[in-house]
């Protein structure tokens, strides 16, 4: 098990290009283990690009290419010998809109363990129950595990997606604006959940919602036009931003 405050993901001189256009310019940052780190900034600033570069989700975009390193546990995820399947098992992801698969609640959560080769039914059952409990969804769905995942509400679906990500036993969870499609109550549930999860998991969240970042994050990155402008402890940045741009963003003058 990893200790608190240990850098688990290190971004070093990282550039991301969409064709000719640089979406990320020379980003350097260490994400600490078992903390919540928020990436904020105006639309198109590169915050999602950075997040999606960590688990190489942007590999799916044909024109995207990178320079520099992103180390996970000291190992560059862009090395040619990296097994994406294994890496993504350790670095999970939750998306903006809930994305349940067209199957039962149970099968959604069991999907990950099954594709990673787990066949033992009892073990799968245990994982499903634990993951749903960790995602604070168990009590609401324990009597209807075999119903379609589409029967759940939006907020429940998003917690199901978190449970599904937890089921493969990751260390890091990346969240790309996970509450932007949810109502305020469902949003609050997710925020409470993320704070609980940060006891055991490293959480990196991209959010448009500055108040949310301030409420839940320990550390913060402010990005602007592909560059990392300012980073550090959330409380410090909010109290006294060092950079003029950060200050303007925090005051709602840009964004």
């Amino acid at each position: 098990m990893s200790d608190k405050n240990r850098p688990i993901i290190e971004v070093k001189n990282f550039y991301g290009y969409y064709g000719e256009k640089a979406g990320l310019k020379d980003v350097n940052f260490n994400f600490l283990s078992k903390k919540i780190t928020a990436i904020i900034g105006p639309s198109g600033c590169g915050k999602s690009t950075l997040l999606r570069s960590i688990n190489r989700m942007n590999d799916e975009i044909p024109v995207y290419h990178t320079e520099g390193d992103i180390l996970y546990e000291g190992k560059n995820v862009y090395d040619s010998d990296v097994d994406l399947t294994v890496m993504r098992k350790k670095v999970g992801m939750v998306f903006q809109k809930p994305t349940p698969f067209p199957m039962s609640i149970y099968d959604n959560v069991a999907f990950g363990p099954r594709i990673h080769g787990l066949r033992n039914k009892q073990k799968i059952e245990e994982i499903v129950e634990n993951s749903l409990k960790q995602a604070s969804l168990w009590d609401e769905v324990k009597d209807e595990l075999f119903k379609s995942a589409y029967s759940l509400s939006g907020g429940q679906q998003q917690r199901l997606c978190i449970a599904r990500a937890l089921a493969v036993d990751p260390e890091v969870i990346l969240l790309d604006e996970p509450t932007s499609a949810l109502d305020p109550i469902a949003t609050q549930n997710i925020e409470v959940l993320l704070e609980e999860l940060s006891e055991n998991y490293t959480i990196i969240i991209v959010t448009h919602n500055l108040a949310q970042a301030v409420r839940i994050s320990d550390y913060m990155l402010f990005m602007y036009r592909g560059e990392l402008i300012e980073s550090g402890a959330t409380s410090a940045i909010v109290k006294q931003p060092e950079n003029k741009l950060t200050e303007q963003y925090l005051n709602g003058k840009i964004g």
Partner: protein, 277 residues
């Protein structure tokens, strides 16, 4: 002033659509109404007798069902794989574009041309003669574009994030396709197969040229034997038989119509269920 114009136009639309509905309704009512009185136990359980003036259409029903089953056996897997290739592997490559163009043009080819093609390729070149297999293969080529393009469109319509969620869990491409994307698109794919099937069972020209025989008393012994089918039976009776055999054509038409209606009914139901999601 403007309001009055709107009223006129909306009335024109209403009249035109009622008119079309009436025509469709008439086709169904007249065909089914004219034929349903000939339905009897014998009609569904016996072969035609006494020069098509008595008996039933059992061999034609069984023949049509075997043509349907056999042609779907070819067109479903080939159509699915083509659609999957186009959506997931082909990308914007020249090959994928070429296949896409081929599929689109295939969908516009008149059925009699398919018939002639099947006749020259399957019956003559492959030496299948007029047979169940030649007819089924010809019809499967007709349904192929429907299935392939539906699978392609259905897969492409799946939100990117559903795909990415599966990849983010560490799934491999084949797992994403077969465990997430195909189940996600299954209603649309099933609808396309049913509509393709409805077309296969009613197609006349291709089966006349490649697989149909005008009379048989039983099911073919092998896929190399010719078959009786519902549409070809209707055609032969109305073209070549006298007044006292016409009742059988009417009864067969009614049965074919009801059969196709049921298939389409299931297709619409599947589609409605999909829309509820």
């Amino acid at each position: 002033m403007k309001l009055k114009k709107d009223l006129v136009i909306s009335n024109i639309f209403r009249i035109v659509s009622y008119f079309i509905f009436t025509i469709v309704l008439m086709i169904f009512v007249l065909t089914i109404g004219n034929g349903i009185s000939y339905f009897s136990f014998d009609f569904f359980t016996k072969a035609p007798m006494d020069g098509m003036t008595a008996g039933g259409i059992l061999p034609a029903i069984l023949g049509s069902l075997s043509v349907l089953a056999l042609s779907l056996l070819f067109s479903i897997p080939i159509g699915m794989f083509t659609g999957i290739y186009l959506a997931e592997y082909g990308g914007r490559s020249a090959m994928a574009q070429l296949i896409m163009t081929a599929i689109t043009s295939l969908a516009g080819v008149p059925s009699v041309v398919f018939g002639l093609f099947g006749l020259s390729l399957f019956c003559i070149t492959f030496g299948f003669r007029t047979s169940l297999i030649a007819g089924s293969l010809t019809l499967s080529i007709m349904t192929l574009p429907v299935i392939a393009s539906t699978v392609n469109e259905a897969l492409k319509a799946i939100p990117r994030t559903v795909r990415e969620s599966a990849y983010a869990l560490g799934a491999k491409k084949t797992e994403v396709i077969f465990k997430v994307l195909i189940p996600y698109a299954r209603s649309r794919i099933l609808t396309a197969i049913l509509i393709g099937g409805g077309r296969v069972i009613g197609e006349t020209a291709p089966i006349l040229l490649t697989g149909a025989i005008f009379f048989s008393t039983a099911l073919p012994n092998s896929i190399m034997d010719p078959v009786m089918t519902l549409p070809s039976h209707i055609y032969y009776i109305s073209m070549a038989y006298g007044e006292n055999a016409q009742w059988m054509a009417k009864g067969t038409s009614a049965f074919l119509m009801i059969f196709v209606l049921i298939i389409y009914g299931i297709a619409f139901k599947v589609r409605r269920k999909m829309n509820e999601r």
